[in-house]
């Protein structure tokens, strides 16, 4: 691995972290679309900034582009407030307009500037190491590494300082306002950080990857945890993991780096979506099946409790009486036996003491639907979870 390769991976990882942090809050605020809007509509800001500074990495240009990002957000909100259209429609109205202004500006001046729409949208990580930052004759590394590094430092500083404010204003706007943590200030700060990050990462990785790095890792992490800090940590992990693995896949396949990273992000999301322990669709499917069996079990136990006559408790009769297929009866009987809830003697089923107690408790719970002691029971019995 040579130093350019290492630098590319460092830049990609820094971008991933810098995107994952605001991205987590955007996902929680159901504002994923807005990052898309920002990433496109800052184009005119970049173009105008470039005319003035003639330098794609100038801080002034970044500032100008970030302001365009904020203007986008304000325009979207303004249109939405009229009550005529929904938020996604408002976004759809604003960003193509701004984006096309940017495209026209580029096209009009295409002769004098090295700026083309493809480069802006897709970016090219492979070239990032060539643009060096040289201070008094000393090469101190790629420019984009320093830009994104500074943005990341600020983001982390703000995150640590205002974590609780961000959390409460995202979770409960009303409480946040009544406690004196202005939701508007938090909202626009988040939008500013998102815009600055987008612009800073833009040149190195392109608009599409910025959006992907903001939304996909956070959306993936969201499926895995019920703790905001863990969600942030996981989002960062998925972002960095995709960045580095995507880089090597591109290397081996000789493909686009941004494309490979985006593909990795998509794949990881898909895997988690399928296999996540609680919210994954396989887990949900399994749990529903399990619950069906357990409801059957309870129905069965209730039947036993209500009938003392042997004829009602004969295995064959149960099949007919409760009207289940053989397979289902079998699995229910097995489950009950496994949990020592019943005994079977000469094909006559009886409740054990444990089964009897359990049934009583379960009925109690179902009727009152409130009981703190049931919490212990939930550990070994699926039905009462969640």
């Amino acid at each position: 691995m040579n130093s350019a390769q290492l630098e590319i991976q460092i830049i990609a990882s820094l971008v991933a972290i810098a995107c994952a942090i605001p991205g987590t809050f955007l996902v929680l605020r159901k504002m994923a679309m807005i990052s898309d809007a920002i990433s496109h509509s800052i184009l005119p800001g970049i173009v105008i900034g470039f005319f003035i500074t003639q330098d794609l990495n100038s801080p002034f240009l970044i500032l100008l582009a970030a302001i365009t990002g904020i203007i986008t957000v304000i325009l979207v909100e303004h249109i939405q407030k009229t009550g005529l259209v929904k938020e996604d429609t408002a976004i759809g109205l604003v960003f193509p307009a701004l984006f096309s202004i940017g495209v026209i500006l580029i096209a009009k001046n295409a002769n004098d500037i090295h700026l083309d729409v493809d480069a802006v949208l897709l970016g090219e990580l492979a070239f990032a190491p060539f643009d060096r930052l040289i201070i008094s004759g000393i090469d101190i590394g790629p420019k984009s590494m320093w830009i994104i590094g500074s943005i990341l430092t600020i983001t982390i500083g703000l995150l640590i300082a205002f974590f609780k404010e961000l959390k409460v204003s995202t979770f409960d706007v009303g409480l946040s306002a009544s406690l004196g943590f202005s939701p508007a200030i938090m909202h626009y700060s988040l939008m500013t950080i998102s815009s600055i990050t987008t612009v800073g990462a833009f040149d190195a990785v392109g608009a599409i990857l910025v959006v992907a790095l903001m939304i996909a890792p956070a959306a993936t992490a969201y499926l895995l945890t019920t703790d905001l800090k863990k969600m942030l940590g996981l989002a960062i992990f998925f972002g960095v993991f995709s960045a580095i693995s995507g880089y090597w896949i591109a290397h081996w396949l000789d493909a686009s780096i941004a494309g490979s990273i985006t593909t990795m992000l998509g794949l990881i999301f898909l895997m988690v979506y399928l296999f996540a322990p609680n919210k994954g669709i396989i887990a949900v499917f399994y749990r529903e099946k399990q619950q069906r069996t357990e409801v059957s079990l309870l129905t069965f136990l209730l039947h036993l409790k209500n009938h003392n006559e042997e004829s009602e408790r004969h295995v064959n009769h149960l099949n007919e009486h409760i009207n289940w297929q053989k397979v289902r009866s079998r699995s229910v009987l097995d489950l009950a036996l496994k949990n020592n809830m019943i005994t079977i003697k000469n094909n006559i089923v009886s409740l054990t003491k444990k089964g009897d107690d359990f049934t009583t408790q379960a009925i109690d719970y179902i009727i009152t639907n409130e009981n703190a002691q049931i919490e212990d029971m939930k550990e070994d019995f699926f039905l009462f979870r969640g």
Binding site: L28, G83, A161, F162, F163, K164, E165, K167, V168, T170, F171, D172, V173, G174, L175, A177, S178, L179, G180, F181, Y222, T225, T226, D227, L228, K230, M231, T368, N369, E370, A372, Q373, E375, G386
Partner: protein
């Protein structure tokens, strides 16, 4: 009875889209009452509370809490929002939500520590939800969620409590548990203001009542003003409640 005024509202008018939903409200809430705000859906009850708490900006009028603007008195006020106003799928636990009640006294930047955690656990205990402290909040039933929000208001240790329909969708046991806590708060000298829909229970639960429907219809002690006349004025139809019990 010359009590202090906890909350004073003068000439308050509030609009969302230019059309006022609250018209020229004057309201004095004396310290130490347990007050119901009643009125039909869309009457502006939630709006009134939100305006008092500075969550909404009125187009006219003013609000003061113990004689000063709300902004200066935030620490004296706790708020339980109407259900459904928060994001239930947010990655946070019951304990965490209750801890949020302590954020106000912490102020900006400072983070909650052991002391705040202890307060939160005590409040959870009080509302009978200690066993659920590590549950993600969407995995709680409606009544349990309501208790969590009550606990969050309790840790704010405020002088004035605003609750927007705390009994919405809760069972009889929870309702009694909540009302007992509210009565305890009143006993401790706090002022409690509750948006309430069940007119039958007003005389039993509350000692003060405000009738609201865009305008303020009436406000005062339940025993003096909770009558068919005011109910009819508020709800528009001929209302008859039996309050003889």
């Amino acid at each position: 009875m010359n009590k202090k005024i906890a909350v004073q509202v003068d000439d308050l008018t509030v609009a969302y889209n230019y059309k006022p939903v609250l018209w020229d409200i004057d309201l004095e809430i004396p310290e130490g009452v347990l007050m119901a705000i009643v009125g039909p859906n869309g009457a502006g009850k939630s709006t009134l509370i939100k305006s008092i708490l500075g969550i909404l900006k009125p187009i006219a009028g003013s609000v003061s809490v113990y004689g000063k603007p709300y902004k200066k008195q935030r620490h004296l006020v706790a708020y339980v929002p109407q259900k459904g106003s928060v994001d239930w799928d947010f990655p946070t636990t019951a304990l965490d939500v209750v801890m949020m009640g302590t954020y106000g006294s912490l102020g900006w930047i400072k983070r909650p520590g052991q002391k705040e955690k202890k307060l939160a656990l005590e409040a959870l205990e009080k509302v009978g939800m200690l066993a659920f402290k590590n549950r993600q909040i969407s995995q709680l039933s409606g009544g349990q969620q309501q208790r969590i929000f009550l606990a969050r208001a309790l840790v704010q240790n405020a002088a004035i409590y605003f609750m927007d329909e705390p009994f919405q969708g809760v069972d009889a046991t929870t309702e009694i548990a909540i009302i007992n806590i509210l009565k305890e708060l009143r006993k401790a000298g706090k002022t409690v203001i509750v948006v309430h829909h069940d007119l039958q229970t007003v005389p039993e639960y509350f000692d003060w009542v405000t009738f609201l429907n865009v305008k303020k219809i009436a406000t005062g002690p339940v025993k003096d003003i909770f009558n068919d006349d005011n109910l009819t004025k508020t709800y528009g139809i001929n209302y008859k409640v039996s309050i003889q019990e």
